[in-house]
């Protein structure tokens, strides 16, 4: 348990809103494409014209069922919708269709990996479907705001954790885990910067050992993993400081300011948040037949945890390596393809996590946009394994592949980078080096063992790096004995 200021602990719950990647909206047939001109993807249902009615998109049910399975949760059937009532210009009906009792997913958990390698189980209270609101734009309208309802009606699933998170680091680990899952399931692209995944943090503090929960605040407007961590840290410290100064914590919603790294209360009226939930009369209870659930689950991909375990067992990778590679579905697929080609899981893992990652990060690329394909990387590794090139030379080849896009054999051929493995050639080089360096030879023979490295270096230089290091070592050893 993380302790703050020597005697405090933090109790954190996260509410994550995930925008589901459907073609059409939750309750209307308008498009959900990003970036359209204002109000060109808002049909009469999205505008809450008099007389319109909602009709449910079947795809969201499949997505919710898969998510429920990945969260080790129960799928509720029947599941019902409810109206959450409040007034805001980006909420055309004056109520949001959401779920109250019997959300589609309930009582799950997620095992997260902490920095020290241990795992912690965080309960997931529920995940429910609801519609997104529109957007308000504030510039350019002299004292007015412009409302764009394109986003209004886009399907969301809200994932609510139990208040079992106890530090900003744990919060980020949980958030990353959710992020990985939704991308794996292809139900969302989980882009926090674009708003397809949003995180609100409920934070309270209490003295270590206390059973009572402190008053909590809700912090919004955090749009990256880093900011989530910082915002929570700030809020914990702020609350501790307030209490220690003799003040009480007000239950309120706060907004995070990333530039100042502070949170401040939102300006809303009291009693403004009585949402008056009641069952949605325009929608009937949703029944999920067993056959539907079964068929949907059959379409589920292997999830990160399972994949990680398989990587450890099948490829003999370390837990750390397996974890990293399994976290992202595309990366995992890439790894397996490379290994399939190269037949060496260990080398494949190393190259992906090393050189390849470095290049991708440098150019801010995603694995899917890698300039070296999985097959090509696999072939490079094959050439190391079959001793065509040395590991050191391979790095040069890699760089040339990245910049030119050429195949590995083409580059080796063209640049003449083949390893020298011909024993007689190496022997002659070794002899030459020994002959050319009589002083060092004398010193070595009189006990300066360190000079062995000098001879290795000279042979490598002589061969322009192409001599097979293992063979050089062996032959040198023999020759020097003489």
């Amino acid at each position: 348990m993380t302790v703050f200021n020597e005697s405090w602990e933090a109790v954190i719950g996260l509410e994550i809103h995930v925008q589901l990647a459907t073609n059409s909206k939750l309750f209307s047939g308008a498009s959900t494409n990003f970036g359209a001109l204002p109000n060109t993807q808002a049909c009469n249902i999205d505008l809450a014209m008099p007389g319109v009615l909602p009709v449910l998109n079947e795809e969201v049910l499949k997505m919710a069922v898969k998510l429920g399975k990945a969260l080790n949760a129960n799928i509720n059937s029947p599941t019902s919708f409810a109206r959450k009532n409040y007034f805001y210009p980006d909420l055309p009906k004056g109520y949001q269709i959401s779920q109250m009792d019997k959300p589609i997913v309930e009582d799950g958990f997620l095992d997260i990996e902490l920095e020290d390698g241990s795992t912690k189980r965080i309960g997931v209270t529920r995940a429910h479907l609801e519609e997104d609101a529109g957007k308000s734009l504030h510039e350019d309208f002299e004292g007015k705001s412009g409302i764009d309802l394109n986003r209004s009606g886009t399907p969301l699933i809200e994932i609510v954790s139990e208040p079992e998170i106890n530090s900003p680091e744990e919060a980020v680990a949980y958030l990353k885990s959710i992020h990985s899952i939704i991308r794996y399931l292809e139900i969302s692209d989980g882009n926090m910067a674009e708003g397809s995944m949003r995180c609100d943090a409920n934070v309270s503090v209490r003295k270590v050992g206390s059973d009572e929960l402190g008053t909590r605040t809700e912090t919004k407007n955090v749009n990256s993993f880093r900011f989530v961590e910082k915002a929570i840290q700030y809020e914990i410290e702020r609350q501790i400081s307030e209490i220690e100064s003799g003040n009480t914590i007000t239950q309120e919603t706060r907004l995070y300011n990333s530039q100042a790294n502070t949170t401040r209360p939102m300006r809303t009226k009291e009693y403004a948040n009585d949402y008056r939930y009641f069952p949605e009369p325009d929608l009937l209870p949703v029944v999920l037949e067993d056959s539907f659930i079964k068929k949907t689950l059959e379409q589920m991909p292997e999830m990160p945890n399972e994949k990680k375990l398989r990587f450890v067992n099948e490829y003999d990778l370390s837990e750390y390596d397996a974890s990293l590679l399994a976290a992202d579905r595309d990366l995992a697929n890439y790894f397996e393809e490379v290994t399939g080609e190269s037949k060496s899981a260990k080398l494949s893992a190393n190259w992906i996590m090393g050189e390849l990652s470095a290049e991708l990060n440098k150019e801010n690329l995603n694995i899917l946009n890698s300039k070296i394909s999985a097959k090509q990387l696999g072939q490079l590794i094959k050439r190391i394994e079959d001793s065509t090139i040395s590991g050191k030379i391979a790095k040069e080849v890699f760089e040339k592949m990245w910049s030119s896009g050429n195949e590995v054999d083409t580059i080796i051929e063209k640049e003449g980078m083949q390893q020298v493995t011909d024993l007689s050639e190496i022997e002659s080089m070794v002899s030459k080096v020994i002959d050319e360096n009589p002083d060092q030879l004398k010193q070595y023979l009189s006990g300066k063992d360190r000079l062995f490295g000098f001879f290795v270096g000279q042979v490598m230089k002589e061969s322009q790096g192409k001599a097979n290091p293992a063979q050089v070592n062996e032959i040198l050893k023999e020759k020097l004995k003489e």
Binding site: S24, G29, G146, K269, L284, P285
Partner: protein, 98 residues
């Protein structure tokens, strides 16, 4: 059933309906009369009874995930009180709700 002034003000705010001072007392009286009607429900025995949200005992149909609506912005904004650059204009929004 009595309705306090405070309660009525709160409800009016939740419903975003301004009630002018003059109408306040008579409205309060009318609402209290209607609330008296509700007393009748107290005598009903409903412990084991399931709430009825729909007269139909059916389940929700679904529709395929297809885009079926095209851009109708011009038509739908014809009757809008205030529009600019395709956006609905309202007095400046200061802070966000959920």
């Amino acid at each position: 059933m009595a309705l306090s002034d405070k309660e009525l003000k709160e409800i009016a705010y939740l419903a975003r309906i301004n009630i002018d001072k003059d109408s306040f007392p008579s409205l309060k009286g009318e609402l209290e009369q209607i609330l008296d009607l509700f007393e009748k429900l107290n005598s009903a025995e409903t412990n084991e009874v399931e709430a009825m949200s729909h007269p139909l005992n059916l389940s929700q149909p679904t529709r395929p995930d297809e885009v079926t609506e095209e851009d109708q912005r011009e038509k739908l904004q014809e009757t809008a009180p205030s529009v600019q650059s395709g956006l609905f204009l309202v007095p400046k929004v200061i802070e966000g709700e959920d």
